[in-house]
Symmetry: C2
Subunit: 393 residues, 2 copies
Amino acid sequence: MKPISILGSTGSIGRNTLRVVESLNGDFKVAALGAGTNVELLAEQIIQFQPRIVAVADEKCAEQLDEHLHAKSVTKKPKVSIGVEGLCEVALCDEAEVVIGAVVGALGLLPTYRALEAGRRVALANKETLVIAGELMRKAAEKSGAELLPVDSEHNALHQCLRGEQHAEVKRLILTASGGPFRTASKETIENATPAEALKHPTWRMGDKITIDSATMMNKGLEVIEAHWLFNRSADEISIIVHPQSVVHSMVELVDGSIIAQMGVTDMRHAIQYALTYPARLTSELPPLNLATCSKLEFYEPDTERFPCITLAYDALRTGGTMPAVLNAANEIAVAAFLDERIKFGQIPALIRAACEAHTSQPATDLETVIAADAWARNWVSEKIQRAASGSH
Amino acid sequence: MKPISILGSTGSIGRNTLRVVESLNGDFKVAALGAGTNVELLAEQIIQFQPRIVAVADEKCAEQLDEHLHAKSVTKKPKVSIGVEGLCEVALCDEAEVVIGAVVGALGLLPTYRALEAGRRVALANKETLVIAGELMRKAAEKSGAELLPVDSEHNALHQCLRGEQHAEVKRLILTASGGPFRTASKETIENATPAEALKHPTWRMGDKITIDSATMMNKGLEVIEAHWLFNRSADEISIIVHPQSVVHSMVELVDGSIIAQMGVTDMRHAIQYALTYPARLTSELPPLNLATCSKLEFYEPDTERFPCITLAYDALRTGGTMPAVLNAANEIAVAAFLDERIKFGQIPALIRAACEAHTSQPATDLETVIAADAWARNWVSEKIQRAASGSH
C-alpha cells in the first residue's frame, strides 16, 4: 500500500484521484488530504480514507470540519492544519510517496515546490505551478531527484508517447486542442460571447476557469509553457493542433517523420492512475476506447487570429523569466471578471496583452520574485478593469 | 558504414531500401544483392552500389547479367550465384550486419532462415516467411540472438508503439487495414470483381499479389499471423480495425485502456529506415505527415461476412502447425489464378477454405515439413482449379 497525499482533494481531480485509489483496491492508501472550504465533502473523505493529516482554508473551516466529524461520531480524527502552511504539511506528510498537486491556481505553488524539494513524486494537475514557476520547479526536482508526472491529459499523453524515445530523436511535441466551444465561431461572435456560451465545452467536463481558458484557447497556450518545463523543449519544438473529438490526447513527432499518438477515453482517471502507478500500467476500470464507434477524427491548424491567447502564451514563453507568471495572473483576473460579466470575452486577450506589455520580465530566480510578478499582474489587471468600469482612464 | 544484404533488390522494397541507403549517405553500404530475373536493373544497382556478391534466378540470368556489365564496361564485377542457394549466399555474406528479406512469396524462406540462424539482424518485408514458418524462424532467432525487425508498415508501427511498453502490460495489438478497393462494395460485387477492379488499391502502391490480398483482406489475415510470431501474442490478442485513410499504421492497447498509435506518410522507406537504424531514429528525407491536410480519420470494425479470408486466417493461426503454410500457399495459387482470369474473385476464399479443410495440420518441426505442406496445398488448389476449368469433378 503506497501512501499518497492529495492537494485539492475536494476538487474534480482530487475526487477522481480518490476514485482511482478505491478502484485499485489496496495498492494505494491516503496519508493526507488538503482541501479548501468544502469541509462537508472533506469530512466524508476522512471517514472513508482515514488520512493522518488534513488541511482546510482557515480556522473557521477547521471548526466546521470538527463539527461535521463530531456529528458523524468520528473518533479517529486526523490532525487539522490550515491555509498554505496546512497544504505544505499535507505535501510533506512523512510517509507519502506520491503527492497529487490538484489545487487550482497559484495557491498550489508553495506546497508543490516543497514536495519536489523533498524528493517526492509529484503527480501535477495544477498547470499554473509550472507556468508561473516552471524553472524553479524543474531545478528543485533535478536537485532532489523528484519525479514530476503530468496529470493534464495532454501532457500525460506526451509522457506516454515519449516512453521509448530518446530526447535527441524527438522533433516536436504536438498538443491536441478541442478548439473549445468557439472553434468554428466568427471573430465577432467570439468577442461578444457570454459566460453561458463560453462554458459549453464540447468534450471535457471541467471547472469554470479551465473551461473559459479552453474557450479562449489560453488553456492550450498555458499547456505549451507547461510542456516546455516538463519535457525540456523550446517553444519552436512544441506545436498545437486542433482536434475537436479529443480522442487523440497528444502526439510526438520523431526526427524520422514518425508520429506516436496516445488515445483514450476522455476521463481524467486514466491520467491520474498512470501518474500514480508509473512505470507500471495497471488494469483500469474505465471502459476501453472503441475507435469504431468514435466520430471521424479531424485535425486543423489553430487560428491565432481568432484565438490570440495562443500567440500571447508563446511570446511569454519566449520572453521567459517572470513573463509567464504575468501572463497567467493576468489571465486569471481577466477570466474571473468575464465570469462576473464585468468585461467582454474579447477583452480577456486584450487585458493579458496589455499586462505583458506593461511588465518588464525579471529572471525567475526564486519563488518571491515570481510571486511578486504574479501579484503585480493581478493588481494591474484588476485596476485596469475597475478604471474602465468607472469610466476613468 | 554498416554493410547490408538485400534479398530481392529489384522489387519494390529492394529498390526503396537502396533509396534509403543512398539518402543516409555513408551510414550503410551494400555488401550483397539478391535478385531474380530483372538483370538489367540489377546491373545498374551493381554499378551504383558495388556489392561483393549478387544472386540471380538461374544460369541464363547470370549470363545476361554478365553481358550487361560487359556492355557497360564494368571491371569490378561481383561474384554471381544462382537460385535459392545464391540467395542464401547473399543472406550469409560474411560482413552483412543487416539482411533485408524482401523476396516475394515462399522463395524467401530458406535464405531468411539462414540469416536468422547466423544471428544477423533481419529486416523482414516478406510476410510469407513468418506465415509459413514463423515458429521455426522465431526459434532460430531466439537460439542465435538474431533480431527480427518488421518492414511491413503495420508491424513496423506496432514495433514502434511497443518501444516503451512491458509485454504483460499490453492488452492487444490493433492492425489497421485500409479495407481495400471493395471496402464499401456489396457481397455480390466483390464476388464477381475483375482483376482490374481488385488492383485499384486506395492508399498504397504495391505489387499485384499483395494488392489482391488487400482486396480480399487476406493480407490483413496474414498480418495477424505475422504479428503472432513477431510479438508473441495469441490470436485473441490481435485485432483488426478498418481505417481507410491509412494514416494510423497500427496501434497497441495497454491494460490501462490507453491506446498508442503510430502515424506517418504511406511510404515504405520509413519502415525500411527504421528497421535499418533501430534503436536509433535518423532524420528522414521523407516529407513529414501533416495531419491538418489529411482527410478525416475513420475507423470501422472489419466485416468478416464480406471478407471471409480474415476468419480463415484466424482459424489457421488457432489450428497452428502447418495450417498457416497451407492457407498461404492456397492463397498464392488462388490469387495467381484470379489474376489470370481462371477463377472468380469469390472463389479465392472458397478455394483456401477447401484446402484448409482437406489438410490435416502437422507440427511445424522443421522446414521440410512446412515446405511439404506448402507444396501439397499448391498442388491441391492447382488441381482443383484445373478440374473445375475442364468441367470434371
